[in-house]
Amino acid sequence: MLTELSDLPFGATAIVREINTSAHDLNCMGLRIGKELKMITKQPIKGPVVVLIGELEIAMGLEIAGRIMVETGTDI
């Protein structure tokens, strides 16, 4: 199932499928299509989220996270 990264619940893992915002910057930081990530923090009041991608921990604003589509489901 495809959802926005910002909707991924805390602690869940997913695979990045689409990046609809500053893709180059995100790629350079290690967030790329096909990578598996885990949501490790969501700050309240529209605060940023922090995801873990392998060894990398990346913090990003909620709007950026809203433009990243990730796939969750049993098949991963």
Binding site: N27, T41, Q43, P44, I45, P48, E57, G61
Partner: protein
């Protein structure tokens, strides 16, 4: 040969596939800690506790142990009386410049280069900045800053910045000079401008905080509150009126590290050395300048000239003019100078806030110039408006509360 970024990524993946193998390992203590300090539920209490620890070490070690326990006794008990005894001609201009007031009992009151100058810079500010630098170094080296950035993001994003602006802010609490350069980590011109302006106006450096702690330990909380509120209000306004974008935070959070002892010592030593080399001469020079201007009658003239603004608009004594001139060179010196003007608590708070916000010190001014003269001029323009409005606002609040 030049590739597209997709082709490059393909190559990157292929190279990694052929050269790197990932094993499995147990989560380290650092990683667990990392989670705790960035989650809202535990992260905010941790941040508050860290701040509190910072503050108590700062006040107890630098303030009570070194400054009050040793430096004050030494400077007021031995240094000052000795100079007062051996320096010839208590009424002469050179006595006034180097030793100051022959009847003074404390190094704050004397206001000579060799008495107050050394006392303020070495006796009061040095222990304070030393502790400050140590704490800052631990914050920097542990990897806590990016986590703090995540926690502060929501607030800072409201004023056009984002969480990572915490880096220049924290550096600025040590010294505004590296902080101004550190604004380069912000993405847009707008963000850099807002950050630089707010730094120059509202962020007191370690030296200033150290001297405040020593002379107004009971009022420093109010002063800091005034600065934080001003930071918020004017950040919000600047964000509304300045065109440009405020991108969101996007930052790498590195794993926690135990600070490497040699690095910490080295950094601490370099920063302290920098302080001694750059700050002390400026403090001495500042005293010299103020004393010369005083001898020449310039300060008295300016004080009378600005009396209406100071007394009616800001609600502070006209004598505040002298410290404000010294503040061009060193703000710590200016605050030390305020302490010998007889004032009410409200006037003290208002004048310390004014000294802090009114103009960046020379060194900050120079680095700001290096980041762009147009921005500098704009920042100065904003600064004058802010000082005028905020100074008046504080006065108004003081009147409403019945303290001014």
């Amino acid at each position: 040969m030049v590739f597209s970024s997709d082709a490059r990524w393909e190559m990157v993946d292929e190279i990694t596939r052929q050269t790197v193998t990932y094993g499995t390992y147990k989560q380290t203590l650092g990683a667990v800690l990392g989670d705790l300090t960035v989650k809202p539920l535990t992260g905010i209490p941790v941040a508050v506790a860290a701040l509190y620890a910072f503050w108590s070490v700062f006040t107890s070690f630098a303030g009570e142990l070194v400054t009050d326990g040793f430096m004050v006794k030494f400077f007021d008990g031995l240094w000052l009386p000795w100079f007062q005894a051996i320096w010839p001609d208590p009424g002469s201009w050179h006595y006034f410049l180097f030793i100051g007031n022959p009847a003074a009992d404390t190094c704050f009151e004397a206001f000579g280069m060799l008495t107050s100058g050394l006392f303020v810079s070495v006796g009061v500010v040095l222990p304070a900045v030393f502790v400050f630098y140590l704490m800052m170094t631990l914050l920097e080296d542990s990897g806590y800053l990016p986590r703090l950035a995540v926690l502060m993001d929501t607030v800072l994003h409201r004023i056009g910045l984002h969480g990572y602006a915490i880096v220049p802010i924290i550096l600025g609490l040590g010294c505004n000079v590296p902080a101004v350069t550190a604004t380069r980590i912000l993405e847009t011109k707008k963000q850099r401008f807002i950050m630089m302006t707010l730094l120059a106006i509202f962020i007191p450096c370690g030296a200033q905080l150290g001297i405040m702690m020593s002379i107004i330990p009971d009022l420093i909380g109010v002063v800091i509150l005034c600065l934080i509120i001003g930071f918020g209000i004017f950040g919000f306004v600047l964000n509304k009126i300045i065109p440009g974008e405020n991108p969101e935070i996007l930052v790498d959070v590195p794993p926690y590290n135990w600070p490497v002892k040699e690095y910490v010592i080295k950094k601490l030593w370099n920063r302290t050395k920098g302080f001694l080399k750059e700050a002390v001469p400026f403090v001495l020079l500042g005293i010299l300048l103020v004393n010369l201007l005083y001898l020449g009658g310039v300060i008295q003239g300016l004080a009378n000239l600005f009396e209406p603004v100071f007394v009616t608009w800001f609600g502070v004594p006209k004598e505040t003019v002298g410290p404000l001139i010294a503040a061009f060179l060193r703000k710590d010196l200016a605050i030390a100078q305020l302490s010998i003007i007889p004032m009410t608590a409200y006037q003290m708070v208002a004048s310390v806030v004014l000294v802090t916000i009114y103009f960046p010190c020379v060194a900050t001014f120079v680095v700001m110039l290096r980041e762009g003269w147009k921005e500098l001029i704009a920042a100065i323009a904003v600064l004058f408006v802010v000082v005028f409005i905020y100074g008046g606002l504080i006065h108004a609040v003081g009147i409403l509360l019945g303290v001014a």
